[in-house]
Symmetry: C2
């Protein structure tokens, strides 16, 4: 045992340069027109160094996403105590994010990447918030008795994200009341008049 390894060790500088270049070119060109050669050139790296560590373009993009080089942050729903306005604010924030053409291209490219690579799909799913912050906010609402206790919160988050993604895909323009309507749908009707 004790497999000693000798020889040079993997260069972290190259790795980071490659991820940075991938993120930059991805945002600029989109997933389809992303080329390994361009990434290598942009990163100042030999092609082999990319092929040595990542089997496919998809894997490279997936790692970019994991490491947070793509989609930094992401919307996090607040907890003001009012689940309805918090969800609405979240949807508004997401739509506002997608209004910037740059972000629009980014999202659609991510969808394209997801559509031919399962890993990317799953990570996109996590990162978009459906299984983390958004669900957490909904769970808090259940605990606070703000929504009916049998609400399938994981599915609610997914439905909201799905609606947003579909809007982006179909290029349907969003009207300003859409966030309210979406939240009404998933919460089972408009806010009761007090």
């Amino acid at each position: 045992m004790s497999e000693q390894r000798r020889g040079a060790v993997r260069s972290e500088a190259s790795r980071v340069a490659i991820l940075n270049a991938t993120a930059a070119l991805f945002a600029e060109k989109g997933y389809e027109h992303l080329s390994i050669e361009a990434i290598a050139a942009e990163a100042g790296v030999g092609k082999q160094t990319i092929y040595r560590w990542w089997p496919t373009k998809s894997a490279l993009v997936a790692e970019c996403m994991i490491e947070g080089f793509l989609m930094p942050g992401g919307a996090i729903p607040l907890n003001s105590g009012d689940i309805r306005s918090d969800l609405e604010a979240w949807v508004v924030a997401v739509f506002r994010f997608t209004e910037d053409p740059d972000n629009d291209v980014l999202i659609r490219s991510l969808v394209a990447a997801a559509s031919d690579n399962g890993d990317i799909g799953r990570r996109l799913h996590d990162r978009l918030g459906a299984s983390s912050e958004l669900t957490e906010r909904l769970a808090a609402a259940v605990r606070a008795g703000e929504v009916r206790p049998d609400l399938p919160i994981a599915d609610v988050g997914e439905v909201l994200v799905g609606a947003v993604v579909l809007r982006i895909l179909t290029r349907e323009p969003t009207d300003e009341k859409l966030p309210t309507r979406l939240v009404d749908i998933v919460l089972g009707g408009p806010r009761p008049v007090a």
Copy 2:
């Protein structure tokens, strides 16, 4: 005026052969690995004949979709008089359709195609039923007093389609109760016990 044209006229046989070949190769290889040269060869047609009439691969796929060479039929929700079970049956049918790996590839390729071509996105949207049969069934439910009259039916259809698309993208396995939960969400709670 009266700009007369002369010379040979466009060959309908070639046009149909190209669309057929595109549909066949699209379903077989997916959008990404679809090549114009392969389409030309499959259709027994010169490449120039394709480039003469379609500016891009996306446009070709879009026309395939318009003409119904792709996604024949599509699920049509029944009207049994019970909106809840009709919607559920529709969701089940759609998920069952996507369980076949062939259809799965087709759908994901359509999503990929939509993500870099707006026309395809819009047509996919129409064809998936969100703006036609599904909405019509929901409108009938409103007229019959089955659901609250202020339900934003167009958005409900979109939300359901979005949820299905997202499931396909994320490769999340579907459990058998998912259709029920999705319908519960958009209809504002589980079916009341009679």
